[in-house]
Amino acid sequence: MNKVLITGLGAISPLGADSRSTFAGALSGRSAICAAPAEIGKWLPQVLVAPAAAEPEPLLDRKYAGIDRATQFALVATREAMSAAGIAAAPEDSRRFGVFAGIGFGGAHSIDALYSRFYQTLLDPALAHKNPTIMHPLTVPRMMSNAAAALVSMGYGLHGPSNTYSVACASSAVAIGEAFRAIRHGYLDAAIVLGTEAMLTPGTMIAWNALRVMAKPDPLDPASSCRPFSRSRTGFVLGEGAAALVLESEARASRRQAKVVAELSAYGCSSDAEHLTAPSVAEQVNAMQQALDMAGLSPAQVQYLNAHGTATDAGDVVETQSIRKVFGDAADRLMVSSTKSMHGHLIGASGILEFMISLMALQSGSVPPTAYLDDPDPRCDLDFVPRVARHACPIDAVMSNSFAFGGSNVSLLARRYAA
């Protein structure tokens, strides 16, 4: 089996327009959460969002104007990761190079725009001479869930598989895991993995609002409204953006003397098979235990865990119990944080964004906090790195959890790489 190495990182997130500024934002303990824009706020005045730190379209070539916003984010993050890895388009081994994408709600902006245009044309008397069904011919290729994977594969001339995983909040964590397996078992030598999400649209926000999981705005400081593991938590805030990773077999990376970020050492995954939204201790434990076993690590050898930590009562308490069960006595020495308190919940992109933040913690020894955690829920009794980042921490291995609606659980594990 091949060792799998991470050789490039990229992001565009609510905390920053690239990976470095995203990680700096995560260490700052300040969130990017704010009131929703007027088109959403007029219907849902309580709803908060975590918009991306930069508009993606101006960062891209003109030919990408008009494509779905999620695809634009994906292209920005991918470009940073590929360039950081020192990989140009059309690599010689392009048939051994795959694209693995994760997205929860593909084409949300394009679909919202389609309905909005249809009904506006239908209902506006000034547009009575127009047939409301006249739509842009690329509406379908824009809204399809694999749009990002397709454009990345075309843009970089990668002829390996270009697969898209849609597993709600675990989408891009699954994409990382499946790319990891493909390289580990010799089906591929390299992969670009991306996770993206852009659904801060009126239609989608109305749907999320109906699920009653959204955080209520803190009256004094709206930015502090998402408070995972806190007694005063009220739910999560939807964010948007993308992150990307380049994975390579150890042989490929060493052949071209690539700079290595870390070793991707394990992927655990499981399904609750129980409830649409309620989490399960048994299967979260199963996913985390698989990851530890595959990596051959004992719980005490992992120093930092980026929690799924959605700031819902059920989610936070169950995850705390699961971590305690897997880590045992070592749980009290494990630093755990939920960076969703700052970048919000990026759904399909959350797994890869949080894994990337974990990798940067591994590289730098700086651990991002769980922001705004000044009143911990007594049922959540781990070291959640409250409010303030920690620096100069010795870290050899990190874990990142993604637990999806639908009951899919993923735990990824990375460790310091020594050639």
């Binding site: 547009l127 001479h129 047939n131 006249i134 842009h136 011919p137």
Partner: protein
């Protein structure tokens, strides 16, 4: 409704299409100097063709049928054909199109 003379309408449609193709599909503007220019020589695939037609459909509010038939025409015939389709759709008249307004 605007009543614009045939030649100026043809001109506007032609400019709309030319500008779109030069700006978005990297067609060499010099190609349009050739009076016998064929649509097939523009290097468009079927997706490019429907994207180009959408620029007109979006403003006229109806769909131009059978897009691939234009591939067999000269550029001038295609423009004339599109113009007559628009006139036919609006009973011989032309709607107040955004491109007509901008140029009128």
């Amino acid at each position: 409704m605007l009543d614009i003379g045939r030649s100026s309408v043809t001109h506007m449609l032609e400019d709309l299409i030319k500008n779109y193709l030069v700006t978005n599909k990297q067609v060499d503007p010099a190609k349009f100097d050739l009076p016998s220019l064929q649509v097939a020589d523009l290097g468009l695939d079927s997706l490019d063709m429907v994207e180009m037609l959408f620029e007109i459909e979006d403003q006229c509010g109806f769909q131009l049928p059978d897009p691939m038939r234009y591939m067999q025409m000269s550029f001038a015939d295609m423009v004339a054909n599109i113009e007559s389709a628009i006139r036919e759709h609006f009973n011989g008249e032309l709607p107040e199109l955004a491109f007509a307004k901008a140029e009128a």
